[in-house]
Every structure is written in structure tokens, then in C-alpha cells.
């Protein structure tokens, strides 16, 4: 039984999540502060053997699966964790609809410590959409996440960060890919968080596995955001693409490090990192790094940072756009990374956020 205060906060969180296109009531959960307050999975999915539960509960009830996969690629223990999500998709199960997760800060001064464990067994497919946001200012969100994608399995993870100016965030995600496994990561930050430190490591441990990570990061105010993504192409025929779009308004600072290490034959990697500065006091740093230990690996990168060009603005003005509309359109185009294959509802959510981001004034 929830207290009145928790109930009110939950209602508020559900409403805000829906606004962002995260409909947990269709299948998903909400972790508010240290506790999972809401969880729903359709009977149909339960019958297919999908396990979707709170992380501590999973450690007790599904200890064999938990112990086999937990804390393999990230350091830590459950003792240091408040809550988190455990998702297990058994072999050969295809999940067409996304599972929604929300991590919400609802108490001033709180430190929310999350650990998520996602296991997609061989020949399975799933999509997860996570929204991290806050109902209060001055709090900390700290999360660890491990994702195991089996042979010929596929997982798409979409994460939306929407924080307030006095929120600090620290996150670490590790992904392990089996033979022919596919992983797609789409991350959008559209908040004024005080600081974000987000590290991702993708380990290609099965031949011919493929990954793609799109980061769309926008900051305003005085945010200080640091991202680091490292990919290890450790098996034959593996490939990865890292795509970043960094947008700083006002005095926001963004630092993005991306690295692909090719350790085996027939590997391919590409880094595409673009930054746009819309304010005078902002700062963007991009550090693409390629490292190869194989003579036939193909690694490439392109990186650029700039501002909106006068000729682009004037061109659009001659087509009937006001200056403000022209800037929005150019920002909107800049933020597009060309992601394909997402369910319509998720695509629409991301499009709506990018639209909002492009209209925001610096």
C-alpha cells in the first residue's frame, strides 16, 4: 500500500512519462527514488517466459540466471543498489512492442542508485525505452547497467534523459554481444542537468556481431556533460557505428569521447561526430579515437564542430522562413542521425523531442 505522498508522486510521474511518449501502463515500470512503485507486463508476455521484475527480487527468485550474468562487465554489488530493472527474454522470443522503464527522482537531496540487468537470449529480439527524469531539483541519479545479447539476438535500447539544472547524473552501461548479435543504442539528452557523466562500453564477443550507438546531446544553461563510448571489436567480422550530435546553447559544455578498437580480422568501425554551438559561452569537445590491431580492419571517422552558416540561414529566408524558423529547421536537421527500424510510437516520441529541442531558444 502506497502512502498518499508516494501515490501522488507516482501519478505525477506516470503523467509526465506519458507526455514524453513513455507509456509504462502498456508494459513497463517506474522506479521512484529508491523503490519500484509500478510494474506491469502483459499476461501474453509472461506466458512467453519473459521475466520482468525488480532487481533485488530477481536476485532471489531467479538466482541462477542472475548469478550467471550480473556484475560480469560492471563492478559493484546489489548491497550498493536501491532498485533497478531485470529483463529476461528467453531463447527465440520476439518482442515487437517496447518495454518502458522510468527512473524518477522525486525527493530533494536523494541519491538514486540503480542497477539494470537485461538478458536477451539467443535468437530473441526486444526493444526497451527508458526515460529518466525528475520531479524535484537537487538530487543525484547513479546507474549501472548490463546488457547481454545472445547469438543472433537483437536489442534496441532507447534512453531519454530529461533533468533539471541542479541534478547530477552518473551512468555506466556495459553491453556484451554474442555471435551475430545486434545492439542499437539511441540516447537523447534534452535537459539542463548540472552534470552528466555517462560511460558506455560495447564488447563484441561473438563473430559478426554489430552495434550502433546514436547520441543526441543538447544542453543549455551551464550544464557540464561528459560522455565516453568505447567499442571493442574483438571477434572476426564485427562492426560498429558511433554517431554523435552535440548541441550547446548558452554556456553548456559537452565533451564526447568515442573509441573503436579493432582487435580482429574483417572488422569495421565508423565514428561520425558533429557539434553545433548556438551560444557564445558554450564549449564542445569531440575526441574520436580509432585503434587497430588487425591489418584488414576498416576504421574511419569524421568530426566537425561549427555554428549555423549565414548562407544557410539566408537561403532558408528566401524560401519564406523567418530567421527563428530557419534556425530551428537547421538545428532539427543537424540533430537527425538517420536511425531506422524503430517502432512508429518510439520514432514519434523521438521526433517530438527533437522538434522541441530545435525550437528551444538559447
Amino acid at each position: 500500500m502506497l502512502s498518499n505522498d508516494a501515490n501522488e508522486k507516482l501519478t505525477e510521474a506516470l503523467g509526465k512519462a506519458k507526455e514524453l511518449g513513455i507509456d509504462v501502463e502498456k508494459g513497463g515500470s517506474i522506479v521512484l527514488n529508491e523503490t519500484m512503485l509500478f510494474r506491469r507486463l502483459s499476461e501474453e508476455l509472461e506466458k512467453k517466459g519473459i521475466i520482468y521484475t525488480e532487481i533485488h527480487e530477481a536476485a532471489k527468485e531467479y538466482s541462477d540466471i542472475f548469478e550467471k550474468h550480473a556484475f560480469m562487465k560492471v563492478r559493484g554489488s546489489l548491497k550498493e543498489i536501491d532498485s533497478g530493472v531485470f529483463l529476461y527474454v528467453p531463447r527465440g522470443v520476439i518482442l515487437e512492442k517496447p518495454i518502458f522503464n522510468c527512473f524518477v527522482l522525486g525527493k530533494r537531496g536523494i541519491v538514486q542508485r540503480i542497477y539494470n540487468l537485461i538478458i536477451i537470449e539467443d535468437d530473441s529480439k526486444a526493444i526497451g525505452l527508458s526515460g529518466c527524469f525528475t520531479l524535484v531539483n537537487e538530487a543525484i541519479h547513479s546507474s549501472l547497467e548490463e546488457i547481454h545479447v545472445g547469438s543472433n539476438a537483437s536489442f534496441t535500447k532507447v534512453m531519454l534523459h530529461n533533468w533539471l539544472p541542479k541534478i547530477s547524473v552518473s551512468a555506466f552501461t556495459a553491453v556484451q554481444l554474442g555471435r551475430g548479435g545486434k545492439y542499437q543504442d539511441i540516447y537523447v539528452n534534452y535537459s539542463e542537468a548540472r552534470s552528466i557523466s555517462f560511460n558506455t562500453r560495447i564488447y563484441h564477443e561473438g563473430d559478426y556481431s554489430a552495434s550502433r550507438a546514436d547520441q543526441i546531446i543538447a544542453t543549455s544553461g551551464t550544464g557540464d556533460l561528459k560522455y565516453s563510448t568505447e567499442v571493442f571489436l574483438s571477434r572476426k567480422g564485427t562492426s560498429s557505428q558511433l554517431i554523435s550530435r552535440l548541441l550547446s546553447r548558452d554556456r553548456g559544455k559537452i565533451k564526447s569521447k568515442t573509441k573503436i578498437v579493432a582487435e580482429e580480422k574483417e572488422t569495421k568501425g565508423h565514428i561520425d561526430c558533429k557539434g553545433m554551438l548556438l551560444g557564445d559561452g558554450g564549449e564542445i569537445s569531440t575526441i574520436p579515437e580509432l585503434s587497430s590491431m588487425s591489418s584488414d580492419a576498416e576504421l574511419t571517422h569524421e568530426a566537425s564542430i561549427g555554428k549555423i552558416k549565414k548562407e544557410e540561414l539566408e537561403y532558408l529566408e528566401t524560401k519564406g522562413f523567418t530567421e527563428e524558423q530557419a534556425i530551428s529547421l537547421l538545428v532539427r536537421g543537424f540533430l537527425e542521425t538517420g536511425t531506422t527500424g524503430l517502432p512508429e510510437s518510439i520514432k514519434n516520441s523521438i521526433d517530438n523531442i527533437l522538434e522541441r529541442l530545435s525550437r528551444a531558444k538559447g
Binding site: K309, E311, E312, E314, Y315, L316, E317, T318, K319, G320, F321, T322, E323, Q325, L329, L330, R332, G333, F334, E336
Partner: protein, 239 residues
């Protein structure tokens, strides 16, 4: 009865402190294609950009009337919304998908404009998912620019060398589109310096020749074209 839709009177334009267009007078009629001929560097593009209101092209003297309304001091986007359109010779590559650009343009000019029809006419469907004007061939650039014009359904279209860098077959297609625009009532000022495109146009009206910043009085476009193609610009200028 011909109806004047654009009147440019005594236009003098300065670019970077230098006078590039001197006391130019041009009149465009509804549904008619006027041609502005001239060698490279004579000031043709400068005049079009000044008429469109681009900030680097300073009008130091003269007046521009669009459908009898003085637009001389209006910003480009207002001129565009009042019915003036410019097709660039070399539009800048944009970080926007061509399809998104066309969709947004059509939103400005109303729902009755059909994007599918326009892109089918100009044969640019294959470009919609690509960044606008980035890595496009000469013909693709011209056809894409013309699509933006079709979507805005302008009263007057200023077309800056829509035939340059385009193969002969594409020139015919472009001529057809321009004729169609004119048939629908748009007054057209077509800039070209070779005149090949003009040979295919059916609704050709007046012709102007621009040399060293000075525009000749308007005459019969076909006659002027003939002289230019046979004798060159210098001889015409001496006349």
C-alpha cells in the same frame, strides 16, 4: 491585357562597397517569361539577389514593386511570402533532408500544394532522404531548386541559370517546368548566359541584356537571343 507583376525601377546595387548594378529597369508580366542575358560577371546574379533582399546586396537607389506593393525594404522571408521566389544557381548544402525541407516549405505556402506531384514532376523522389544539395549532380540541384519554387506557387520567380551544368535532355525538362509555371500565371525572370534553355521555351516574352552592371531596355527576347548567339554580347552592346 498584359499585367505588370514585378517592376524594378532605377535599381542601383552595391556589394562590398562596389556598385555592381547601375540604374536597372525591368518589368515582368504575369504568365510571361522574360530573359536576362549577359556574360559572366555582368551583375545578373547580383541583381536577382538584390531583388530578393539578401543582406550583402545593398540597394542604394531605386524601387521594387511586387504586384504594385513596394517591397524594397522588406526582409527576404516577407518578400517570399508575398509571392517572390528565387531559384539559386548554387544553393548551399544544408544539414536537412531534402524531404523535410520541401515539407516545411509546403507548410508555409498552404495545404493545397502537393509535394508528391511536385517531386514527381521534377524527378527528385530519390533525393528526399538525402541532405539537401549535398553531393547532388548539376541537374539534381537545378531540379530540386525548381521543386522549391513549384511548392511556393509564386507570383514572380527569379530563376538564376537553371540550365548551367545540366545535360541537354534535362534542359528540355527544365524548360517544360518553367513553361508550366508561366502557364499557371507566374511571371518569370530567367537569367542565363548561353541562351540554350530559352530556345525551348514557348512563353518567351521580353529579353534584357546586362553588361558591366547596366541593363538594356527590354526588347523581343527571341530577336535578342538570335543576335547574341550570332554576334556575341560585345556587338550587341555596341548597337
Amino acid at each position: 491585357m498584359p499585367q505588370k507583376i514585378l517592376e524594378v525601377s532605377n535599381l542601383t546595387v552595391e556589394v562590398g562597397g562596389k556598385i555592381v548594378v547601375k540604374n536597372a529597369n525591368i518589368e515582368i508580366e504575369r504568365g510571361e517569361i522574360s530573359v536576362l542575358l549577359g556574360p559572366n560577371g555582368s551583375g545578373k546574379t547580383t541583381m536577382l539577389k538584390a531583388i530578393m533582399g539578401l543582406s550583402d546586396y545593398k540597394i542604394v537607389e531605386g524601387k521594387i514593386l511586387l504586384d504594385s506593393v513596394d517591397i524594397t525594404s522588406l526582409p527576404p522571408w516577407e518578400r517570399a511570402r508575398m509571392g517572390l521566389a528565387l531559384s539559386y544557381q548554387n544553393p548551399p548544402p544544408l544539414p536537412i533532408k531534402m524531404g523535410m525541407l520541401l515539407e516545411r516549405i509546403s507548410k508555409i505556402y498552404g495545404k493545397e500544394v502537393n509535394i508528391t506531384n511536385a517531386v514527381n514532376q521534377t524527378v527528385i523522389t530519390h533525393l528526399l532522404e538525402r541532405d539537401a544539395f549535398s553531393g547532388f549532380s548539376g541537374g539534381e540541384i537545378k531540379r530540386s531548386e525548381l521543386t522549391t519554387i513549384l511548392l511556393s506557387k509564386p507570383k514572380v520567380a527569379l530563376l538564376d541559370e537553371p540550365d548551367s551544368g545540366v545535360d541537354v535532355e534535362s534542359v528540355r525538362k527544365i524548360a517544360k517546368l518553367i513553361d508550366q509555371l508561366a502557364e499557371e500565371g507566374t511571371g518569370i525572370l530567367l537569367v542565363t548566359h548561353v541562351g540554350l534553355l530559352a530556345r525551348y521555351l514557348r512563353r518567351l516574352g521580353k529579353g534584357y541584356v546586362m553588361m558591366r552592371g547596366i541593363v538594356s531596355p527590354g526588347g523581343d527576347a527571341r530577336k535578342i537571343l538570335k543576335i547574341v548567339l550570332n554576334e556575341g554580347y560585345e556587338n550587341l552592346y555596341r548597337r
